[in-house]
């Protein structure tokens, strides 16, 4: 038997008895950042492939959602800081070994790029509003001409943003549940899947909905495979990883993880999308909303359960 207790008294806020330094705002930010990365990826990809006409929702309304998602995500991130007045310090340095540092820079560039993207479609989205300032009119003309170049820049940036949401957690070796290399690709695929679900939700065009349903179905299978890969990897891991896995399998977060993420968030919507692709009518809102909720719950489970895991000494 081994038991360890504090005898000097220690009950530090947010640290004891369990680490609780990151809360819902961080989960929300990781979810919105991943979803935004997914939408930007598809908008940029189809623009580069010169197939914009077939994916009108992805390149216009969904990109407006991206602006809201990034803005709310950034606000959530700012809300979670405890030394808020010094936030500008993030942008006085770049530290490659700190994912949060380069992630903050990528987020800044992606946000600026997304605003420019939506501005390039301003006249198409709001045909009744005329831009009267000459400089802005010139900027719009310039952006329309360089839309493809903007897409070429945004495509890799969106992938980096999507993978960053996972690497942010996996870089912490002190938290064994986070510390697995698959988390980056897993969050990226999950982000692309929620991005596709968001496009399906807002699309009224049958072809576009079918296209993104197919893409989403493939992404869900990849995501499930990566989750299996993560669990297998941890099962083959050291004592701390086995202990960490106990929280997801047979512990406090088992129901949240298996019911809301795996079954309702991935398997059930995949079945519904499969049925729809076979030609049966399924209200598109159901699988899309389930995937979005599943994506958010997945981040909440990983952020909160990860903080319960630690090294034992």
């Amino acid at each position: 038997m081994q038991e360890e207790i504090f005898i000097s008294g220690r009950n530090i806020p947010k640290i004891d008895p369990n680490l609780e330094v990151w809360h819902f705002p961080i989960s929300l930010y990781l979810f919105l950042g991943g979803m935004a990365a997914g939408i930007i990826f598809f908008a940029a990809l189809f623009t580069i492939l010169k197939r914009e006409k077939q994916v009108q929702t992805a390149i216009k309304p969904a990109m407006i959602i991206v602006l809201f998602a990034l803005s709310i995500g950034l606000l959530a991130l700012f809300y979670d800081l405890t030394h808020k007045l010094y936030v500008w310090r993030l942008y006085t340095t770049i530290r490659i070994e700190s994912p949060m540092s380069w992630g903050a820079w990528v987020l800044l560039f992606v946000t600026i790029g997304s605003f420019l993207w939506v501005f390039s479609y301003f006249s198409e989205i709001f045909p009744k509003w005329e831009i009267k300032v000459k400089a802005l009119k010139n900027l719009e003309r310039f952006l329309i001409k360089n839309r493809r170049n903007l897409a070429i820049i945004l495509l890799p940036l969106s992938l980096i943003l999507g993978i960053y949401t996972g690497i942010l957690l996996s870089a912490f070796n002190a938290r064994p549940l986070w510390n697995n290399a698959i988390l980056g690709p897993l969050f990226l695929i999950s982000g692309l899947s929620t991005g596709a679900a968001c496009i399906i939700l807002f699309s009224k065009d049958h072809y576009e909905r079918k296209l993104f349903s197919q893409i989403d179905l493939a992404l869900i299978f990849i995501e499930l495979a990566l989750i299996v890969h993560m669990i297998m990897g941890m099962y083959a891991g050291s004592a701390v990883q086995l202990e960490a896995l106990d929280i997801l399998i047979g512990g406090d977060y088992t129901v949240m993880f298996f019911v809301f993420v795996i079954i309702l968030g991935l398997i059930f919507p995949a079945i519904l999308e499969g049925i729809e692709l076979l030609g049966y009518k399924v209200p598109v809102i159901i699988p899309a909303v389930l995937i979005l909720i599943g994506g958010l719950v997945f981040r909440m489970v990983m952020v909160e359960a990860g903080q319960l895991t630690r090294y034992l000494y």
Binding site: V21, A171, R175, Y313
Partner: protein
């Protein structure tokens, strides 16, 4: 030069004087502490062992808190001590999550705070407050790079361990066992 602390678990009686000395010396806010004492019980009756340890930031060589800090507020100072520059810290909490020893906390003023090995006392040639008050003199402090120092002698002659070596942090607080 590299500072290290050596703590003799066979001499520690768990009085928590080190904790109070640190809180007083460093004006640590009420409800927080930069060092703490643990008691671990191993085995089952009648073969029971109790180990007392005064723990704090391990001033790691491979410090994950320094690596993950997005602004460079957490940095390595002279002698390998890990310090936080309060007006560079944004309070993101990344360093707190990255520490396997849970040795950092968010100060009520927002920035992240931790043990400094009493860097302000070292400048004056004094020992850290916890070391200087220990009634059983179970704590030793010095330059581990100097083979003639007391800490080097102790580590050369006694059995010792560090906390969570498998975390790969290369800590600089040693426990004689």
């Amino acid at each position: 030069m590299k500072y290290a602390m050596v703590i003799d678990t066979l001499k520690c009686v768990g009085c928590s004087d080190c904790v109070v000395a640190c809180q007083t010396e460093n004006n640590v806010p009420i409800g927080y502490c930069r060092d703490w004492v643990t008691e671990s019980v191993n085995g089952a009756y009648p073969h029971v062992e109790i180990e007392l340890k005064s723990e704090r930031c391990n001033q790691c060589d491979n410090a994950p808190c320094v690596r993950c800090c997005p602004t460079g507020a957490s940095h390595k100072a002279e002698g390998g001590i890990v310090l936080v520059t309060a007006d560079e810290c944004i309070g993101c909490g990344a360093c707190i999550a990255s520490c396997p020893y849970d040795a950092r906390y968010q100060h009520p003023d927002g920035y992240v705070d931790k043990c400094t090995f009493c860097a302000h006392r070292l400048k004056k040639g004094q020992n850290p407050a916890c070391v200087s008050v220990c009634p059983t003199k179970c704590m030793y402090f010095g330059d581990i790079d100097d083979p003639t120092s007391k800490v080097s002698h102790l580590l050369a002659s006694r059995k010792f361990k560090v906390l969570a070596p498998e975390a790969g942090t290369k800590p600089n607080v040693y426990y004689l066992i």
